[in-house]
Symmetry: C2
Subunit: 425 residues, 2 copies
């Protein structure tokens, strides 16, 4: 057992869908904690997120070299494993919370740093209340992360800027390609992007075209009910004007009946629904109605894992959020989340803010209406002004033999101290 006067250890875990910069936050957490060994003993990471805390599968990050931890800054994905697991309420599953306390106590854990999105903020909030609800002294700080950019209060979420950059760059590149082919072949390119509920990522496709590089890009947002006639007319007009067109479609686009367009599409030979995504549905629609030859792509994980084309702004903010979370912990705070506060657009300036978790948990930030053009197919200048700084700057990983050198940690287990096993529900 830890000595009574030993500094408390910190528990850090990654939660939900990973991003290309969530490990940069981990890097910020661990490097900052290592500078304050008098106040924070070790950083134990949860193997597979909060599940690691419940099953007592902790990773001793002190076994990793400074170099390996520094490498997290340029390594995509969740180095300790993530999970999709939401704690129930105290009333619904008291045993989970008692188990957390049992594990925290056994490993002298006094800081809970949770790196995730909206659901995770809710988990973090519940843990932050353990001092009150179950008498176990703990400080819980949330480290924001989500490619969906849908957390409230913070100006933007680490993880989003790099996806946005990937989508903007890819849309620009593919548009150049289809422009070359349009005379005798492909006239429309459809790119499916993530974002079930909010169109932030789709909006980034609009950045592909700007004052220096004019490109015809039509965006389908989940915020805008899909109107097939208007869409066909829009693409038709673009192809008539430019000879070709790119379409960036959010996976969350719904038809007037409220059904995902993706679901309205394919059945396989056995009648199973939805083999494909929304991109092929939109592409064949253009072929069937306008006779346009198409190509389509589905970026899927490639977009959120693309550390090779990460935004420097995003990497810096992800690191800063991790660092700030530890500083908040050292300052004795609880139930808070560091935020990005934008103080100026041109030049872009931002600083760290602080949000109470009770104001963050389970709230989704949608795109403001004035970010979408009146016709529903593009982004406004206001949206550009918001997005532009978030994709700014490059931050290339080191390469060896033509490939980025991402870190695979040793992930040494902390010896278990408890006899009991905990069964996940």
């Amino acid at each position: 057992m830890a000595k009574k006067d030993a500094p408390k250890n910190a528990f850090y875990a990654q939660s939900g869908g990973v991003t290309s910069v969530i490990n940069a936050s981990a890097c910020g957490v661990i490097e900052t904690a290592r500078k304050h060994r008098g106040k924070i003993g070790k950083v134990y990471a949860g193997r597979h997120g909060i599940i690691g805390a419940l099953t007592e599968e902790l990773i001793d990050t002190s076994k990793e070299s400074a170099r390996a931890i520094a490498g997290l800054r340029h390594t995509p994905s969740g180095a300790f494993g993530s999970c999709r697991y939401k704690l129930k309420s105290l009333e619904e599953n008291r045993a989970e919370y008692e188990r957390l306390i049992e594990v925290f106590e056994a490993h002298n854990i006094g800081y809970f740093l949770y790196n995730g999105g909206g659901d995770s903020a809710d988990t973090c909030l519940k843990v932050s209340q353990l001092s009150k609800t179950l008498g176990y002294p703990i400080q819980a700080i949330h480290v924001p992360k989500t490619v969906d950019n849908d957390l409230p209060i913070t100006d933007n979420c680490p993880g989003f800027g790099s996806v946005a950059k990937y989508i903007a760059v890819s849309t620009r590149e593919a548009s150049f390609d289809v422009a070359s082919m349009a005379k005798t072949s492909t006239k429309v390119f459809v790119l499916e992007v993530m974002g079930r509920h909010a169109g932030w990522i789709a909006a980034a496709g609009g950045l592909a075209s700007d004052e220096t590089t004019e490109l015809p890009v039509v965006i389908l947002f989940p915020e805008v009910v899909f109107d097939q006639d208007k869409f066909l007319a829009k693409v038709d007009a673009m192809v008539k004007k430019y000879g070709y067109c790119s379409v960036v479609v959010s996976e969350g686009v719904r038809n007037p009946e409220g059904k995902f367009l993706a679901d309205a599409g394919a059945k396989d030979a056995f009648g199973h629904t939805q083999l494909g995504g929304v991109a092929p549905v939109v592409a064949t629609m253009l072929k069937d109605n306008l006779g346009l030859k198409y190509h389509w792509a589905v970026a899927d994980y490639l977009q959120r894992a693309a550390r090779h084309v990460a935004s420097r702004t995003d990497v810096e903010q992800a690191y800063a959020m991790g660092k700030a979370a530890v500083q908040f912990a050292l300052a004795g705070k609880n139930a808070v989340m560091p935020t990005v506060v934008r103080s100026s657009n041109k030049p872009y300036r931002w600083k760290i803010g602080e949000a109470s978790l009770s104001r963050v948990a389970n709230l989704e930030k949608k795109m403001p209406k004035n970010f979408i053009t009146k016709d529903g197919f593009g982004i406004t200048q206001r949206c550009r002004d918001y997005l532009a700084p978030l994709i700014k700057g490059e931050d290339y990983p080191p390469y060896r033999n033509g490939l980025p050198q991402y870190v695979q940690l040793k992930n040494v287990a902390v010896p278990k101290k408890l006899d009991s096993e905990f069964k996940l529900k």
Copy 2:
């Protein structure tokens, strides 16, 4: 009309599917020609490839600044427009050849530089014979280009190395992602890549895993008849060992009946076949038979347009091929193509070679059998040794406001000199 003693002009055109480095070849052609103005007058580019020659839609590249031409080196796609258009034989369509001569004569064109793959080499060969067949003096040089890497004689084809790098990098990144998620969510990631006939691009997915970074990657090659039971057993074994698995599947994979797997999949609500690609077919197969949660991506144009992650080797070779083509022209050669000759693997050394077009046209280079592992799902060391140098080195484009600055040329038309119009068949 041009003076009799004026140096001959060159015609340059881009053909077939474009790549992220075909413009680097254009850059090599134009920059080199500009250094020899005494022997080559102007470089006229075909608007939309060979079609531009038939319709007398020529682009005067001399109207572009040195800076714009230099920018082609880092700009993906075909800056003058490409086309899918194959000249028929002289017997089948003599009018096409007579028209070419009419246009070449009107614009004092003595050099024909054609930038494309196997089909284009055939076109180039036919043009090279015009001196003999129709008495018009011309030198035709082919500039190799194809992401498919299937041209014979040359060690590799410009365009391929950058796609290979994109696929290797993306497979590595997505594998890190799915590894993070596998405990509670996605266990298998399927990436569909180009390559209808040859598995070169799919093979590049195998580079994602190497001695520094071990990752479970299963490859489905078009060269290997798809065996569902063996495939399921392979993925099952990988998931049992690693907890997750990535599958890189070539669009050209066929079942034992010789049908594309992609075709075996979806029908839409109206009974139209094949909305989707092969990735969702493979992914649902894994779900239905092994119960694995999946994600899938289709890279499509993104892979061949991804200049942002181009291979430096590839860019250098693409430029060198353009430069060599002009040097061949200056040396009085005809009906040839510059090639990449590999003189050493470690360290990688290559030089320019020369191939007769009659030995290049309409031949496809398949993957050697000893490049594929015995089980049919991976690449051998021999294949690695071949591929590794081709993805080596980075060659980032310049960025502004977070986006790569690709060149859009003015593409000023050469004034038409002919009254007659030519109708394309």
